[in-house]
Symmetry: C2
Subunit: 553 residues, 2 copies
């Protein structure tokens, strides 16, 4: 008897790297294909991409991918497309108009271009023998976000990724309550639901409340009004555009990601800017500062972003002056406070007026549902099982306590599989049927997957105390200690470290005298490395990586 | 004419590393002696300590240190004592009882022990010919916090470091309004004031509101009640102790910093624990879990802390089980979210109930004054000049906008000197008279100051892409390419990197063939390093540190 299998390839308890496999018999349906972001334990890593070896194994067993559904246009849901599609056979993709537009942009950059079938809200598509899916409009911090009802031989799975229940969305497109209710009436076996903001008890405020704040902040700006935000946040861009037009300011977009997304959104009719109200960034110095509204990328203070170049006076066209106002319409991403507040502090030092959520809370509203909204949607769909996704383990736990248990879900019906656990649904029952090994692949520069745990652990060690390489010549079995060369980086400033150098030389000499004849090369190298490491730690409490090289002369 | 000079050695726009010099004629009075904490741009660094070279220069010019005042017992105000006192001549120290107790503990560890004169609130001490100081009780997240009125020949400086205006302090010791008003009546020339929490508009809640929350959380705990908090937070420890006694739980302190601080506080009568209600940690397994209240260090999820060892099942006496409740009575320090939430997530994975401020906001209250409290104190003291301290540049800016300007202070009277700027007060006027060079000293292991910008920049580079060392033997002017040795760490996993190795060999061979005869050694090494670096970046977009070593054979 085949059963429905559900696997999160990006791991459970992860907010990013979203990628799900629905598997039935010989068919696999994929949902999302997102990147993750490295934390400080992964130095040098650019992005993380989901581990698709499970899919590749199944393909080699003769199973096939029948399609991929994309829920919305954020990079943690579509950003891995250019990395992963080249490694996979062709299959149809499904998305909303804007999501498809953003995804095409991502794919185009790397030649992984595939056609995407665009679905309207409420549209149901037969994907394969076993799977069909219905697209359901939902509100989030990017327009055209969708939830999907996935129809399988074992029942309906409601795939409820990132959302909020915005009662006054900027584009007027409310969550598709009618069709969601219709799906709920057919009985939903399991609902996956965004749990990220479960810690909050107040209904997340509507995005449309940001507009009046932008308007007010713009009204008393003497110089340029400079707005920085997530580049995919088309609704907030729309509200900024609307305020700019009211205040007779021309709109200028700066930054590759903002410019690209705006182009796509305009083309698809998702962003409306009256003719003649936009300026090319190269024209800004021909206009008075007080007639300009700049919308610029770099709201996290990212090194090298357009905003940061402007903040440090290195931008080719944008100079920020003290009569300008810079508005950060974004919270710091946890872990990124140093860059984010660093940008704000630098602007303050230059006497520029800066607005950010800590001093103007309503200049940013979250795109995620709080606990009561999660509960409202859960209550609407009323599945047999519910599975919190899109959050860390604490969010999944709090989802059970705050959202599901009050609606009489017991622990067995709130599914919280661990990393790599495969859920199987059969005859209305869910169970963990298997645990697969998942290792996110790390992208560093153009290399994918060649940076593993060993390389990362070396990088961490190198960053803590640097490294020392000892090059020791040997002639006919005799080491020439006078020719010992010591190369060091990141350890101490060696030009001033005579003491350390002579200490190293002495330790090497002693070790060689004692053990040089008795040991084989590899053993002797390890002994030198270990002994030097221990002695250095005693003297200075640091542990540089030590490597010994013998050279035969 | 001598003037009063005021210098922040820990830099302005810094929250930590507090250390101020008041200088008049040949006298220097110091206030605080705190450490700072490295950010992610300073890998491997343990702590930062203020740059005292300014003091040392003045000492060598024949000036003297007449004393040091300590405002309160937090490490960013007293933690640098053991590092700096050994480098300075003897002088008297002044502090409140608990601050003196904590400071003595810090000093004892390193043999920098000095006697400290304890001052009661309202007590005024003549320190030297030019300086006297009055101690003023203030509320903060450690008991016995003080502000000081510093009497100088140019007038009174109100030194208002970290504080809140707690109207219901746990120990009943209110801010010393009477004496503050008496000081204010004598006309204050300049007030230094904690601006850290200026972004907040609501009066910071009283610490005493935490007690009832602890009580409520304890009342429905089935297993152990485990509380983790800042180890100096004696008032919160007191409230936890009170709840434990009410709920018939024995109190157990775990963690060196908690145990030490508790000992000092009990000895000084600042913490009251009834006889027989404390247990030694080695006894906990002789008692029922439901009769225990554990107070443990590690509220930031610090690696190696007592709490973290318990979380990962590595603590010798404390095992956390699913019926226990773990309460984080502390916010994540910005930048430390990964460790902090990592601890919470791990406990959630183990099905332990975890309480933290995101889900129970009143389990932690800040020790810092919000904007209206800052304004109240400013209005009470009404100095000619005011200087926001204890915050970043954005806080100093917002202090001017939100706190001082509404009380009719103009820009010229809100002093915001830049890093290293020396303020001079003369005949009632303040001006920046000099800029000195300040470089915080970095402590790494037992080394102080030997890790500088160059070493840090190497560590950052090493952490991003690792390193490659090429060892190239040469015999009578001819390089032996067959004996080329490549040592690499943190770059790629070399055992699987045949391609990279052969690519490196080829580049070296080409470069030597082309330039080997023409260039001197250093030039040739640099050329090899540069060329290899550029080529590797083209191929794989990584920039490992490359070092070439020649060995004569």
């Amino acid at each position: 008897m085949p059963e429905l299998r559900l696997i999160s390839l990006g791991g459970m308890g992860n907010v990013t790297q979203n990628m799900y496999v629905y598997e039935y018999d010989n068919e696999m349906l994929l949902v999302d294909c997102g990147i993750g972001f490295p934390d400080l334990h992964m130095p040098g890593v650019d992005v993380l991409i989901p581990d698709i070896s499970y899919i590749q194994d199944k393909l080699s067993e003769g199973k096939k991918i029948v399609g991929m559904i994309l829920t919305h246009g954020h990079d943690d849901h579509i950003g891995a497309l250019p990395y992963l599609l080249p490694d996979l056979p062709k299959f149809p993709l499904f998305a909303s108009p804007l999501t498809a537009g953003f995804a095409r942009n991502r794919m185009r950059e790397t030649g992984a271009d595939r056609s995407i079938q665009v679905l309207a809200s409420g549209e149901k598509v037969e994907i394969s023998q076993y799977f069909s899916a219905e697209s359901l409009a939902m509100t989030h911090s990017v327009p055209d976000t969708r939830h999907y009802a996935i129809f399988t031989p074992e029942g309906i799975i409601y795939h409820g990724s990132d959302f909020k229940l915005d009662q006054a969305p900027v584009d007027g497109v409310l969550p598709d309550y009618d069709n969601i209710e219709a799906v709920a009436r057919q009985e939903v076996l399991c609902m996956l639901i965004d749990s990220l903001r479960v810690e909050r008890d107040n209904w997340t405020k509507s995005e449309s409340l940001v507009g009046p704040v932008i308007d007010r902040l713009m009204s008393d700006t003497r110089g340029m009004f400079i707005m920085t935000l997530m580049s995919s946040h088309i609704h907030r861009i729309q509200q900024t555009v609307d305020a700019a037009i009211k205040h007779h300011r021309k709109i200028v977009f700066i930054g590759r990601s903002v410019e690209q997304n705006v182009d796509v959104a305009i083309e698809l009719g998702k962003l409306s800017i009256p003719k003649g109200s936009m300026l090319d960034k190269r024209e800004i110095n021909d206009h008075k500062d007080s007639s300009l509204c700049i919308i610029i990328a770099g709201s996290q203070g990212q090194e090298g972003s357009s905003l940061m170049r402007a903040v440090y006076g290195e931008h080719p066209v944008l100079q920020i002056r003290s009569q300008d106002k810079v508005v950060f319409s974004a919270d710091a991403i946890p872990g990124n406070e140093i860059n984010y507040y660093g940008a704000i502090d630098e602007l303050c030092r230059n006497d520029v007026q800066v607005i950010y959520p800590d001093v103007e809370p309503d200049i940013h509203q979250s795109g995620h549902a709080s606990a009561p909204e999660q509960q409202e949607l859960l209550d609407l769909v009323r599945p047999d099982y519910v599975m919190p996704i899109g959050g860390a383990d604490r969010h999944r736990t709090k989802f059970f306590e705050k959202v599901a248990r009050p609606l009489n879900y017991d622990k067995a019906h709130v599914l919280r599989p661990a990393m790599g656990e495969v859920l199987s649904f059969s005859q209305g029952k869910a169970r963990v049927s298997e645990t697969i090994n998942l290792a996110p692949r790390l992208v560093d520069g153009l290399g994918v997957g060649d940076v593993g745990p060993m390389v990362l652990s070396d990088r961490r060690a190198l960053s803590q105390s640097g490294m020392i390489v000892l090059v020791l010549p040997r002639h006919r079995g005799e080491f020439d200690l006078h020719q010992l060369q010591i190369v060091s980086r990141g350890f101490v400033f060696m030009k001033e470290a005579d003491e350390v150098i002579s200490f190293i030389k002495q330790t090497v000499a002693e070790t060689i005298a004692e053990a040089g004849q008795k040991m084989k090369d590899e053993e002797l190298k390890r002994t030198l490395e270990r002994r030097l490491s221990r002695k250095l730690y005693k003297v200075i409490q640091r542990e540089p990586m030590i490597t010994v090289v013998f050279v035969e002369t």
